[in-house]
Symmetry: C2
Subunit: 448 residues, 2 copies
């Protein structure tokens, strides 16, 4: 048996590791066009700021380590240029040796990931306008900070990564401006919850420009100024473009593999694509939304990991499934934990749900115990069934716990009534006698 | 309408507050034989150590505040001596005025709580042998520490409260010995998990005597020495008896109200007792075990709060239920969070389940993010259905989150497979790409 894997970050290495554990004899070849594999994409902001001390900590395994650990033939700087499903063949280019080659597979796993969207704005080609996707990108940013000692950075786009990088750059001592075309930060969140984050960013000294886009970057070789669509001038030494990513599907598309409506590779729960013996997993592949049961594309490390594992197991003759996702996301923005799961109110309405929403502000633990902080919870409930179908949680402590309980509740199709009934753990350092989850349920039940 | 409530701590005040919110006209009289109401029993260890700065912080409402806030006729130092269900009458004694009286109710809520078990050991009557149940008890302990400046304290019993008090006394600068008759601390936990806690207690300088009981207390008026059953001599200036509690059911029993097999007052999901128009809630009442569907008695503040609320709502004509509990418990023991939910392996077997157990030791969050700590998770799974029916979690951070997710999973009848599927929130400060819950599920699935 021969298994080929294209791409060696979260999904690719998960698939390889699982395939090896499931079958100690099969030949596994992993092609990665970059020079690094197996790095923690989510850890890059912490590597840049130095919160994570060294590069080797975010690179979980070097190619050499991975080869040794999993007996996988890892070929870095090898770009796969064509898949020919009919012949079970792939063609690749060795980027260092500048030569080409072919590989015949029995099973193929596509984990080509995603790439940052780069807007075609005048001046975009100037130096010091960067993106953050790979560990190489992180190296570049870190080097500029260390070598050029820049004062000011501008982040274009206020999504999860943009805001994590706002904190990271602040940690590195830079003046930070974030410019976002939409009226609020974090488009996955409702406006009133996003405002809590905006307030916190301002308190931490981040300059926010909302509802405005970049018209032009200017500078002499290196970016120095940004002109916004609404006429603002922003001095800057460094720009991070963080307006989103798109799935890398060109290779799959050319091979006749079905691309879904979301633009990512269509897969079933077994991670099988439309072509026999070809799997796809991770940021290049779709998932099923567990509530709407429709395909969605929400690329995240945890999903990539699971999908990779399922693909690796099935490619070696297994029969495992990844049922889908709730688009659960979490991020630390300075002292705040900001998290969401399920459908937003807007999404729920678009899907035809008749909903009520409930928003509460409650203590994270017993009032007499030190370090009391307030938690903001928002729940979206289906009027017909009483089911919780979406939630947002923001707070300084205890927010990660509540989003995971709510995600489990949504997964389990629990109702507002159930939220009061669950026997959650109470002691003064951890919660209030009526847990915030129970309060959310009670308030929702009253409304329903 | 007239509602009488007997007992004014967690369940009683919850019932009163809910009844008032549900019905602004009804007369509500709350009888409490003590002088304090509405205090946080779970907060007393923190009040004693000074972690919670002042007494008024653990006393959530004084009688005066409660009267004002909820328009409830609070009668402290009033002991109810008899309930006559046929006449809907109760008799009470005013302890300060030394006179008696009667009150005719339409609905009665019994929240008489529980009392510490005091063993009949020779010398038990000596001074400085104390218990901890009420805020008055806490005052007494605090006064002894402040006035007598004792060096050594011995805690008899290594349950949740005993170990919380071990930490509390250490915070107050005392030498602490814990003596426990059973071979391990925390009888609700399995031996291998309890050992982790024992190791931690020793690291923190707590002396543990396991598998040994107290034979005699000696001293001249004040306790000075303890002789153990196995012949140990323990010098001590102070003793805390913490071997368990029993429900206060004498009043109910005398009134012909049914007492369950557990020894606590039998109630249905509406908190109705065997007598019409009489409810019971909190530490004096039973609950239903959500897994076995049998009555259980596991008195905890969070349950008391919910049951009180349900009783208060139903006494005012509402129709609410408390479905039951999973015996979820959590405690902070120095730097460790120690938590459980559902059935232990032993309980599951006694209930006729054919089970497998899974134990894992995993990182609480991404390896490259600061403050990495290990989490110990144990799961009990039903072989027939694959359902998770019990769990224990111990760790320095993130244990409270995992127990609440597992409690929600057990409540929702999720299987090992589901634990892998739930879309839990991942970012480096909060979890690992494969969350500990997912790993627990994967390992269990393999075993099943």
């Amino acid at each position: 048996m021969k298994i080929a894997i294209i791409g060696g970050v979260a999904a690719g290495t998960s698939a390889a590791a699982k395939a090896r554990r499931a079958d100690s004899n099969t030949e596994i070849v992993l092609f990665e066009k970059d020079k690094d594999i197996s790095y923690a994409g989510c850890g890059l902001p912490y590597y840049i700021s130095g919160v994570t001390s060294t590069r080797d900590k975010v690179v979980i395994n070097t190619p050499e380590e991975f080869i040794k650990k999993y007996e996988v033939d890892v070929r870095v700087r090898h770009e796969v240029t064509e898949i020919i499903p009919g012949k079970k063949l792939l063609k690749y280019k060795d980027l260092d040796q500048e030569k080409t080659g072919e590989y015949r597979y029995d099973k193929l796993i596509i984990t080509t990931g995603a790439s940052p969207l780069i807007p075609s704005i005048p001046g975009i080609e100037l130096d010091n306008i960067l993106q953050l996707r790979t560990v190489g990108d992180a190296d570049r940013i870190k080097n500029i900070i260390e070598d050029q000692n820049p004062d000011k950075v501008t982040i274009v786009g206020a999504g999860l990564i943009g805001l994590e990088m706002a904190e990271s750059f602040k940690e590195s001592g830079l003046e930070v401006t974030v410019i976002e075309k939409l009226p609020h930060v974090l488009p996955q969140f409702s406006a009133d919850m996003a405002e809590i984050v905006e307030e916190h960013l301002k308190e931490k000294g981040v300059k926010l420009i909302l509802g405005d886009g970049v018209k032009e970057f200017t500078g002499n070789k290196t970016v120095k100024k940004i002109y916004s669509e609404k006429g603002q001038k922003i001095e800057t030494d460094l720009v991070l473009i963080s307006i989103g990513i798109r799935p890398n599907v060109e290779l799959a598309k050319k091979a006749g593999i079905k691309i879904g409506k979301t633009g990512a590779i269509a897969v079933n729960k077994k991670m099988e694509t439309s072509q026999p013996d070809i799997y796809a997993a991770g940021d290049c592949a779709e998932s099923i939304d567990l509530i709407t049961e429709k395909p969605v594309w929400v690329p995240l490390g945890s999903t990539a990991n699971k999908q990779g594992r399922v693909a690796g197991e099935n490619a070696t003759g297994g029969n495992y499934e990844h049922d889908g996702i709730l688009k659960t996301g979490i991020t630390k923005i300075f002292d705040l934990t900001v998290a969401r799961t399920g459908l937003s109110e807007k999404e729920a309405k678009e899907e035809g749900f008749d909903v009520i929403t409930t928003k509460i502000k409650v203590a994270n633990h017993a009032g007499y115990y030190p370090d009391l902080e307030m938690l903001h919870l928002k729940g979206v409930f289906d009027k017909k069934t009483g089911r919780i179908i979406g939630a947002e949680v923001i707070g300084k402590t205890g927010a990660d716990k509540r989003i995971d309980v709510l995600s489990t509740a949504i997964y389990s199709k629990l109702t507002a009534r159930d939220l009061f009934q669950i026997d959650l753990a109470y002691a003064p350092p951890y919660s209030t006698p009526k847990d915030p989850i129970a309060v959310l349920g009670m308030v929702a039940e009253k409304k329903l």
